[in-house]
Symmetry: C2
Subunit: 213 residues, 2 copies
Amino acid sequence: MNDVTEDAAGPAAGLPRDRNATAARILKAASELLAENGFQNFGVNAVARRAGCDKQLIYRYFGGMDGLVDAIGVQLAGWVEERMPENGGSGFLLTYGDLVERLLLLFMEALRDDPLMKKIIVWEISENSPQVRRLSEARSKSLALWIDRVRGRMQPPKGVDPFALNALLIGAVQHIVLAGEAAKRFAGVELESAKDWDRIAQAVKRLVRGVYP
Amino acid sequence: MNDVTEDAAGPAAGLPRDRNATAARILKAASELLAENGFQNFGVNAVARRAGCDKQLIYRYFGGMDGLVDAIGVQLAGWVEERMPENGGSGFLLTYGDLVERLLLLFMEALRDDPLMKKIIVWEISENSPQVRRLSEARSKSLALWIDRVRGRMQPPKGVDPFALNALLIGAVQHIVLAGEAAKRFAGVELESAKDWDRIAQAVKRLVRGVYP
DNA sequence: TCCGTTTGTCACTGTATGGTGACATAAATC
DNA sequence: GATTTATGTCACCATACAGTGACAAACGGA
């Protein structure tokens, strides 16, 4: 375990002492732990064990778990930019409906491929501690900015409430992705194979086209 | 605390010994605890504390936490029947769209008013233990039966995938209710006052009418 | 009345957690 | 080279948890 060739090995294995490096190792360990196990059993001891260092360092370098979670949030600030193409995925976005459809499907795929983000969203709806609230604020701010940017001058149709509608649509996508992660099915619909998810994608399109024709 | 007039007081306070009564007290304590605090800190000690008895009785009468959770699931089996009117809320359900709209709005209200069910759904998407799986199966079975019953001979329109669409719609409602519970807002939309929820209800209608005209 | 069973309580083990103070050692500064 | 600081480790505290064996008291039947 504490071999010199071990990735996560700290100075105990003879490596040089480097605050930044170990702080980064702790942050990485925390992110991975959260992505794999969720927010349960997510604590100082587990993170320190995984990072291969003493938990004391978590208190010293991050001021405890709160600070560490904040650091994860900072890492996550660029989540949207990193995995959503700037132009909305491809050209030819003529209508508001085109835009929302493309965004939702992109978001669904990105979320499906990101265990950490899935776990964080579950955490968000599981409790309302200041910790997780700060975590979610960073993400939703960045998302809102990105949407504004990619929307350009496109305007939603009159006579509808695009904010409420989009909230429901995003909620639908998030919930079905999370449910699929946990149970491989939801409301009688299988959520496992690529085909299953294609079916969901088609339904999302239908839903969007129904309200933004 | 252990006064004779205390509701949850057990035989320590002089009450007669009664297995059924204390088992019921334990079950009640567990349900309340789950409804108030969620599945975190939900364990033998906490339940026994709240029920005012020794945790040993939980092992004896329920075989441990697993059995206790199963018992909660049994209690929950009739959830749908108990709070959803048999005829779909009122007459005049002419189309499949009428039906889905009414069902979704009823479901949303019922869910909003039921802390226990909210916590259980969060639990369902948080982990995939056999415990919580059995818990959710009971509920979804009863829901499916009820839907079949209330649907009667009404048929969904051709050319769409009602299962996938309904899964998304149910997911949307569940997610927005859960998010509202946790954070009082979601995707930039306030979720606090009756007016806020009315706005969401309108959007749900729009969404349904878009796919089931 | 006596005796076995049921119901409830207590005390204990082992394990995990969050958190802190004391210490050793490497690195940097003088 | 000597001293001060940064970095990392360790041992320990109080607390909480799940689970178990032993015991006390109430109950019920003979």
